[in-house]
Amino acid sequence: MEDLNNASPRPTAGGQTSSAHIHQSDVRFQRGVAPVSSPALPAARLTLPGVMDAEGRVDESRLRMHIFKNGGVSPSERGLVWRFLFGMYPCSSTALERSLLQEQLVERYRVMKRKWQQFLPSAVRLHLNGTDAELVAAVRYFDQRQAQAKLQTQDQPQEVQDRLAFLELQAQILDLSYYQGEGSGNLLVLRDILITYAAFHPDVSYAQGMNDLCSRFLEVLDSEVDTFWSFSCYMEKFSKDFRADGLHRKIELEAALLKELDPPLYAHLVTDNMESFTFCHRWLLLGFQREFEHSDALRLFEILSCDHLELISQQVDRARYQERLARRCSAEDSPKSKLQTINTAFTFELFICAAILLDNREFLLRCRDDVQLIQFTSSLQGTLDLNSTLKKAEHHLYNYCKRCAWDYMNGHCREHKSKDEDFLYQLRSLLVLK
């Protein structure tokens, strides 16, 4: 119990080692167009201590913990790390298996890309400037074809699925050096990746903002094929947020979280004319990619993607669940454990957002309409300090978990005063901060 009391949050994600990373990644390289694939990487070794075994298998939880504790990895290692982190390379694979896998992935991507290029031959030589008449015409052709297919009967759903999405990918990411000068060809690469993704995921297709995220992958992985697969893995988890019915998901969660953390601020932000947290939408959809300085934004993307805290809090939740089950089995128990549980949908990024809001609490409380809120959002672009934001977010997350745990423990201890060891151990491991 005392442990719980004294468990002061010791934020680590913004640790000291990270400052060195910032300087390194500030040095931006003027590179040419990304190669299609990177055949040397399957055999490359991670230098992080104790993460990779002799055959090249990766200890996933250690990797994730490492990323979190050190506030990201060094830019030189980032490319390889992301291939594991996002799941393009299974962590359980050996270097040998990966070289085979790499060949397969290259081939599969080639086939997929060729498929849409056949359907849309003019897209192969499209130019990037402006909305393209050819592309628009081609898309209209596909729309008509789809309409016809619908009319004919629904016998060929697969055929319909080949419909291509409209991509209005203008040269949109020119603020990054990776896409300037000789690198401007990378915009074409990016477009091919996004079209391929959209073509084979008609339910998600293309949404504004995906280009922001995908460009991060391309810049870090510097390979067309690897970017496609890593981006696809990422989208498996987050594509729902890019669909019309999912755009509100994260802002609703954020509102729910703020209701827990700061009820008065929440109440103020849900009043009329505030447009219910819409001002946070871009932050959450794009993982704060426009709010932090570029190299910090990459680092944050990496930290958020390692899900370290979420995994731990899930462990705690599971332990509690098992314990509850065990108690229910012991007959005479009344099954009324309706105590507040940790909401595992509250991911770390929501706490990052909350930290920013709470940091500006007084200002937000003075805002009287959506105009001031949007102005507030714009004023923050590129100005936030990552390390201090991480620390505060971590602090809020621990406090939240601690409070939930306390509520639970209080209720629980009134009924039972024994056999909490396993649960306590898990809790301690969370609160004392691994």
């Binding site: 402006g130 504004q208 019915d245 819409t278 949007i374």
Partner: protein, 213 residues
């Protein structure tokens, strides 16, 4: 501190993604043109003050993401708009056809007396033109809107377009505004009245009855 403007209007830019809504806005408010920009996620806005008939009109122009799926976010901004730009790209037939859809959304979600104006952007791209000027004129006429072809690139008709919509909104709100003006004049009278009321109050207090307060 003196107020920096007399009236404030909310205008909204609508139209397909890539027609140049953000570029129009940047040209108008900052006189800048970026051939490539970061796509608008959700909504954003910029402000500018115009002087129309001696009235300082502050316009707040809301920029929206054009993609259909973002409408779940952007639609909530329609209801407080007083003027709307319906923008298409003269090099994109499709964006022109979609104006009807945008217009019907406006009918559904925006206030009844909202003023609209039709804008065909990218008029500098003569070689790629797909929508004739006459088509624009015809459509605008059918909807009872004014029409401008613009180019954010060459700064053609930009100020004219924004000013025209602001004028129309101003005219539509003229009645309210006249009332406002009167009340400005009345302020002096009102102050005098209040003084009188004060006197009245104390008098009423003295009398101890016959007062509503």
């Amino acid at each position: 501190m003196a107020k920096q403007y007399d009236v404030l209007f909310r205008l909204l830019l609508l139209g397909d993604s890539g027609v140049g809504k953000t570029c129009l806005l940047c040209r108008f408010t900052d006189n800048e043109f970026h051939p490539s920009h970061i796509s608008t996620i959700g909504v954003d806005f910029k402000m500018k003050t115009l002087v129309i008939d001696g009235i300082k009109v502050r316009i707040q122009i809301w920029d929206t993401a054009g993609q259909e799926r973002y409408q779940t976010i952007t639609k909530q901004y329609y209801r407080r708009a007083q003027g709307i730009f319906l923008v298409y790209d003269i090099t994109s037939e499709r964006s022109f056809q979609h104006i009807m859809k945008w217009a019907s959304d406006v009918d559904e979600y925006a206030p009844e007396k909202v003023r609209k104006i039709l804008v065909g952007n990218k008029s500098d791209e003569v070689d790629k033109r797909q929508v004739a000027t006459e088509q624009g004129i015809k459509l605008a006429k059918a909807y009872g809107m004014d029409f401008f072809e613009t180019s954010a690139f060459t700064n053609h008709n930009i100020t004219e377009t924004f000013t025209r919509l602001a004028e129309q909104v101003l005219a539509a709100n003229k009645k309210d505004l006249d009332l406002l003006r009167m009340s400005v004049n009345d302020e002096i009278n009102l102050a005098a009245l209040e003084e009188e009321e004060g006197l009245c109050d104390s008098a009423a207090g003295d009398q101890g009855k016959g007062c509503w307060c």
